[in-house]
């Protein structure tokens, strides 16, 4: 059962990812990304990360992607013209990617040989209780710092995007 779920959602994620890269209009890419995030949220659930799954859907898919869509609509971004790939990217990028992918896969297999499979419900550390406990004790400092970071981001966004006052 878990395997089936994994396969389905993995397939969705990969297809949406490919779609993101292939589509010409940004809106289509944005919607594909939303799909990827949804699939990933399901996968997080499988891995026992309830909190993260929820955060993913609420923050990422709900807020960030909406922001993306707003900006696309604001800028009236049209269909991309014909995709002329720069030679450097084409010749350097794709082979490196394949190489990269192959390496990662190899390393994964050597480092983590087949260990115990992922079973839904086997991991209990991902609940909000556990996350909260860690967040407010061990990781308190990063937590506070990120709140400052968000503040700065807000300020930055406002400053950058406002109209110039004549």
């Amino acid at each position: 059962m878990d395997a089936l779920l994994f396969m389905i959602f993995a397939a969705i994620a990969v297809i949406c990812g490919i779609n993101l890269v292939v589509q010409t209009h940004p809106i289509s890419s944005a919607l594909s990304l939303v799909g990827v995030m949804g699939a990933l949220a399901a996968l997080y659930l499988l891995l026992g990360g309830e909190f993260i799954a929820a955060a993913q859907l609420v923050v990422y898919a709900g807020a960030i992607m909406v922001l993306f869509v707003f900006v696309i609509m604001l800028l009236n971004a049209g269909t991309e013209k014909k995709m002329t790939v720069r030679p450097l990217g084409k010749y350097l990028g794709a082979p490196f990617l394949l190489l990269f992918f192959g390496m990662i896969a190899y390393m994964i297999q050597t480092i983590l040989p087949s260990s115990s499979p992922v079973v839904f419900g086997a991991f209990h550390g991902g609940s909000a209780l556990e996350i909260g406990r860690s967040l407010f004790t061990v990781y308190l400092l990063p937590f506070e710092v990120t709140s400052v970071l968000i503040l700065i981001a807000i300020l930055g966004a406002i400053v950058l995007a406002r109209k110039e006052v004549d």
């Binding site: 994994f6 990304l33 996968l43 900006v71 991309e80 995709m83 992918f101 930055g156």
Partner: protein, 108 residues
């Protein structure tokens, strides 16, 4: 990787491989697309792939630290998205284009 009849559950390495695939796709999009916003979205895709990797390792190691890390990645991604899109807006205002190749004042 055990092939053959579908097992009941999937080993964690498959999750990691999925993460790698998504990351690779993100890089591909980053390199191949010309629209700035699409490039940005590819970056988000990469970040998500990394998140998946973190959560998987958290499961393997039976600790919740991976979740915390993933949480912070999300926060940072949010902040980054906000500021990045603001920059894109400004670039668009100044240059009236969303093509990444036209933003090349740093040439030479």
């Amino acid at each position: 990787m055990p092939l053959g009849p579908l097992p009941a559950a999937v080993p964690p390495s498959w999750y990691l491989t999925l993460s790698a695939i998504l990351f690779a796709l993100g890089v591909l999009g980053f390199l191949l697309r010309r629209n700035i916003i699409t490039v940005f979205m590819s970056i988000e895709l990469m970040l998500n792939a990394v998140n998946l990797s973190f959560v998987t390792f958290s499961y393997v190691l039976k600790r919740s630290d991976g979740h915390i890390f993933s949480f912070f990645v999300m926060v940072v991604a949010a902040a980054e998205a906000a500021v990045g899109l603001a920059i894109i807006l400004t670039v668009f205002k100044n240059r009236q284009t969303l093509e990444i190749d036209e933003v090349s004042s740093l040439k030479n």
